[in-house]
Each structure stands twice: as C-alpha cells, then as structure tokens.
Amino acid sequence: MTRNEIRTAFVDELTRIAPDIDGKTVSDKDHLMDDLGLDSMDILNLVTAIQTRLGVSVPETDYPRLETLEKAVEYLAGKLG
C-alpha cells in the first residue's frame, strides 16, 4: 500500500466517523482532537475502523501516534511496511 492510499483510507474513515469534517480541507498537521474536534469516543471508533480496513493492530498505547494525519500515515506505513 502506498502512503497515498493509506492517507486516502484514513481520511475516508475519519470523515465517515466525523462527517462534519471536509476531507478536502484536512491538512497533514491538523490535530484530530484540538483542530478537528474529535472526542475520545471518535478516536476509539476511528482506530477500530482503521484496524479493520487495513488489517493492522494498533495497541492503545500507540493512539497518540495517530494524532495527526501526517503521523498516522507514517505510523501505519511502518506497520504495513
């Protein structure tokens, strides 16, 4: 999977959980909670959806490594690599 594909998958799941967010305007450095307004239940749902979609396992202690789009893509690429 390329980074671009991971990014698309992540934004896709993000906007499904939080449809108030416009996927086109999400920038790489936006913080999921502080900038995009997700709450902790959203994060939980997002990680669950990503795990299912990409077939990776993300332990709870790694959640902070998905706090921006940039970090998430980097982290998930490492997992899938």
Binding site: P19, D20, M33, D34, M41, E60, P64
Partner: protein
C-alpha cells in the same frame, strides 16, 4: 451478582476519614460541618474565601494548590497565595468592566490556568459562575447562555470565532467577552493585559450563604436544558463530602480528571479540593493512556477521582500497558458519572492495588450523596451508602402518595431535602423544579434498589435521558437539531448500550418527501448534528424509518424504540397509535 465483597482491613478503617461510618452518620450535623469553615464577618459565606483566603490566613499560602500540566509538556505550580492573587485580579477585571454581584459569568474553555483564576475570581466578586463544556457545539452554548442570561463570557479566540461570534449580538444580556491571551477579536477584551494591570488585592464580596454562586446546566427529557442553581452555602457540603467520600485532607496530592465544564469538575475539580487544602493536579490534555499512567507515577498522586468511561478505556488496553509504572502512592480511587461495572472495581485492585470506590450524585445534588467510603466494604457494582447528613430512600411513585419500597425492590432513588448543596431552583422554571419534589422527598429520576445491607444499586433512568461518557444528554435537544435539517420530518433519539461509553446516542429519522435514505444522507445528517451540537452530544448512528411509534396524542414513544433495540419486552403499548415502520 456473583462478585465477592471487597473487605477492608482494620488498618484501612483506622486511616479513613470516617472509620466508623454508622457512628459518623449518627453523630453528624450540617451545623457542625458549617463550623469547620471560617465564614465572612456578619454571617456571610463565600466559596472563594473558603477555598483560598482561609488557607492563606492560616499560613498555608506557600503550599502548592494547583500543579498544572500543559498539553505540550510544561508544568506550572500555583500556590494558594498565587491563586488568591490571580483570583483577586480576575475579580478586579470584572469590576472594572461593570460586572458585579448577581451578574453571571459563563466559561467555555479548556483546562488552562485562567479557567481556575476565573472561577475563583468570579465567586470572589459575588458573580455567578457558570461553566460550559468546551466541546459543545454552538447550539448548546447559545441555548444555555440565553437561559442563563449571561452577563459575561470567558473563552478562547478559537472557540469564540468558531462557535460564538456569529450570534453573540443576539444575546442582549451579554456585556463582556474576555478572551484568554494577549489578543482579542473585535468587541472582545484580551484577558492578558487586563490581568497584568489589575490590582492583586480584592476584598471578598460580602455574599450571603443563600446568594446564588453557581449554575450548572443539565438536560431534560422534554424542553430546554435546565439551569441548576447552587448557592454559596453549597461549600459546606463540598467541604464535608470531599473528606468523607474522597479522603481529601490538607496536603494530599489529588487528581480529578473531570472537566470543570461539568459539575464534577467544578464541585470536585475546583471547590472541594481547594477548600480541603489539597494539592491538585490539573491536566490540560485529554485522556491518553500513557500520559495518565505517567502522571499518576510522576506526580505521586494519592487520591484519584475519575470516571467509568476512562477506566474502561484503560481496561481495553489491558493490564500489561500498566506494567512498569509505580502506582504505590495511590491511597484512594473513586469513580463517578455513571455506575461503575463490577469488573472495573476489581480491575482497579489488580492494577493499582486499590479498588475503585463508586459514588453517586447529580447536578441537582451539588455534591456526593451516596458513596463507597474508604472504611466500607465494597460490593462491586453498588454505589454504596448515603453519606452522613444524607437520607436516601427508594420510593414507589405510582400511587397517590409516595411509599417506600422494601429492600431489594426497585423504585425511584429519592433524597430528603435539606443538605447545603441541594439545588435552590431551576432557573426561571418553577414548575419543573416543583415537579422534582413529592411528599417531602426529592426525586432523582434514577431507578435503584437498596439491598438488605443498606447498599444502593443503580438500575436505570426513570425517564428518557441518555448517559454517555458520564454526561446526561436530553433527547429533545438532539431531536430539535435534527429536525432543523430540511430533509428531516421527524426524529427520535435514544441511548443504546456501549461497552466503553455506557450509552451512545442513536437517532431514528423519518425523511421528508423528496429525500432518500442513503449512506450519504446518514453522513449529511450526522455532520449537521455534530456541527451544531458537538461530538459529545450528536448521534453516533442514524437509522431511517417510514414512521415512528407514537401515542394518540402524537408523542414519540422513545421507550418502545429502546425496548426493541435491546430486545426487551415492549411493556404497556395501549396508547400506541401509529407504529414504527
């Protein structure tokens, strides 16, 4: 039930604030509790004075009151004297801008130090403090500021621009908007420079015990949210219950993870700990497993008051995630917000070496009413027993007169009014307030039962309110926002069980002609609701129906939707006129 009682040792009891709970209940009087506070000359009482000035006057000004942990890793300590000076400065700023006794200041911001200066400065100035949750969308904020007739608001520039600026002019009572930091949008005042030049002495306003001090908003099943009014005398209960139910004592290191935007974060995240002279840890950041474990260890937290949703999130991560941390300073763990499941009570013991002590109260009660105290054996899953000064009962409300239920029978949890932090009103809603009282009882709206040993057990809500992540959500407020959308003809909102959040919000929607049910429509409506209500209140799931179950008078039967969702008996459906399709 099947869970073994967790028994306390003689040593646990000897070290507890109430070694003998039964005896304490007999000996206790609220009058005695009042004497432990200093009060103001002439019979006055002021929460901020009890929280700060009393300690400074007694020579404890140099003790750390707040250890603030910034989201990006910095740490700042504020002593009792620092807090007193900053609260005084804030009170001076309010006065300079014409905000005074009887006015109402709303706060809408994260857990930054200014929030604590503002809360205490507001009370000091005799102004009513009304905290709002910073993750609320614009709609709940506006409704609450209208009902509460806000005179002043303190918030951040980002929140102001996103959620408030567009309708600010439509709140006629709003005279002052303070913005944290050195810059402010148009028509707002930057707090930084104001604080810099404000005098750090401000004599505590001579407030009467019955003067209004706090308004906390809570949701109703129907109609608008209710502004729960508390007075300065509530501090008597904040002080006593903090000792009895949380073991707060001078010098303890205490961490309450609740946000001051909710009642727990004010009563036990600001007032009670300070009045009891503790050092409180305040974390600006949201829940993060590693950060929380590190905080417990590094700050040597002794007393920890948290919530079921957070505990269940920790449990999901498993015991291994906690390995390697030193939790040996923890002395007492407590939980509130919704019933704590027995697994979580026991899990506390396995991971932290101490069980979680569940307790029960609500916005209306202002303070903890029923608790598992340190000396009491714990029956996992039970909320415990009434604290000294509190008389609780389980009552049957169906007949003409209330009757008390026998042990093990389910009824409505009720309290005998008279404790100091009992609400004094729902703001401008006398009829709704009066409905809470019958035959000398305050009716809580919670269904519960008392076992033969006197322990209380939560059973469910007596109404349609939803409890998600410990927050009470009124279905009406959510339905109203959904119906505002052009596509929506009707909406019904219920809570469905969720293993982490307790319940999550689910909506049933009937679309207007010309609109089709689709995944895209589902997202559009959820997006609309999230923008207006914020993520904590908006539905996490929306399903479409041709029609909703309604009574002959046209009332949507949420209870029926819920029973069907849960596969429970449908109960009495004799009033059902049109059914769900």
């Amino acid at each position: 039930m099947g869970w073994d009682t967790i028994t306390k040792s003689a040593n646990d009891r000897a070290n507890a604030a109430l070694p003998d709970t039964e005896k304490a209940r007999k000996d206790f009087s609220w009058n005695d509790a009042r004497q432990e506070l200093s009060g103001l000359p002439g019979g006055g009482l002021n929460i901020a004075h009890e929280a700060l000035d009393r300690h400074v006057a007694a020579g404890h000004g140099a003790q750390c009151a707040i250890r603030w942990l910034g989201a990006s890793g910095e740490t700042r300590d504020f002593t009792y004297e620092h807090l007193q000076r900053n609260a005084s400065k804030f009170a001076s700023v309010l006065t300079r801008h014409g905000i005074g006794k009887g006015d109402r200041l709303f706060s809408m911001m994260g857990r930054v130090p200014e929030l604590y200066f503002a809360a205490l400065g507001t009370l000091r100035a005799g102004v009513v403090f009304t905290p709002l949750f910073s993750a609320f969308g614009p709609e709940p904020v506006r409704t609450r500021m209208e009902i509460g007739e806000a005179s002043a608001l303190i918030t951040t520039a980002a929140i102001y621009r996103r959620k408030i600026a567009s309708w600010r002019a439509e709140i006629p009572s709003l005279k002052l908007v303070l913005i944290v930091g050195d810059d402010a949008p148009e028509d707002c005042i930057a707090l930084g420079p104001e604080m810099d030049r404000a005098p750090d002495r401000f004599e505590v306003m001579q407030t009467d015990p019955e003067d209004m001090a706090l308004i906390h908003f809570t949701s109703g099943t129907t109609g608008r949210p209710k502004g729960v009014v508390h007075v300065h005398e509530a501090v008597v209960a904040h002080a006593a219950t903090g000792r009895f139910a949380l073991e707060l004592r001078p010098g303890s290191v205490y961490w309450c993870t609740a946000d001051p935007g909710w009642v727990t974060g004010t009563s036990y995240g600001i007032i009670s700990p300070l009045v009891n002279g503790v050092t409180m840890v305040v974390d600006e950041a949201e829940y993060d497993l590693d950060r929380w474990y590190r905080t417990l260890e590094r700050e040597k937290v002794e007393i920890w008051y948290t919530a079921p949703t957070a505990i269940r999130m920790m449990m999901r991560a498993g015991q291994d995630a906690a390995a390697g941390y030193d939790f040996s300073n923890l002395k007492f763990l407590a939980s509130v917000g919704e019933p704590l499941n027995p697994e979580a009570v026991v899990w506390g013991k396995e991971v932290f070496g101490k069980p979680f002590h569940d307790n029960w109260w609500q916005s209306e009660t202002g303070g903890i009413m029923i608790a598992n105290t340190a000396a009491m054996d714990i029956k996992p899953g039970s909320m415990g027993k009434p604290l000294p000064g509190i008389e609780a009962g389980i009552v049957e409300t169906a007949g003409d007169e209330l009757s008390e239920c026998a042990p093990e029978e389910v009824g409505e949890l009720a309290l005998r009014p008279g404790w100091p932090s009992m609400m004094r009103a729902y703001l401008n809603e006398e009829a709704r307030y009066a409905k809470c009282f019958r035959d000398g009882w305050y009716l809580s709206g919670d269904l519960a039962m008392r076992d033969s040993d006197g322990y209380f057990w939560f059973v469910g809500r007596a109404d349609d309110l939803i409890k998600s992540s410990g927050h009470l959500i009124g279905p009406f407020e959510v339905e109203s926002v959904l119906i505002e959308h052009d596509a929506v003809a009707e909406a019904a909102v219920i809570g469905i069980p969720d293993e982490t959040a307790g319940e999550v919000v689910k909506a049933y929607v009937v679309l207007n002609p010309g609109f089709d049910a689709s995944d895209e429509m589902e997202r559009t409506l959820r997006g609309h609701a999230r923008k207006r209500l914020g993520p904590a209140v908006a539905p996490r799931e929306i399903v479409f129906r041709q029609s909703l179950p309604k009574t002959r008078s046209g009332k949507i039967m949420r209870r029926l939707l819920k029973a069907r969702e849960l596969g429970l008996p449908e109960g009495d459906i004799s009033t059902l006129e049109t059914d769900e399709k």
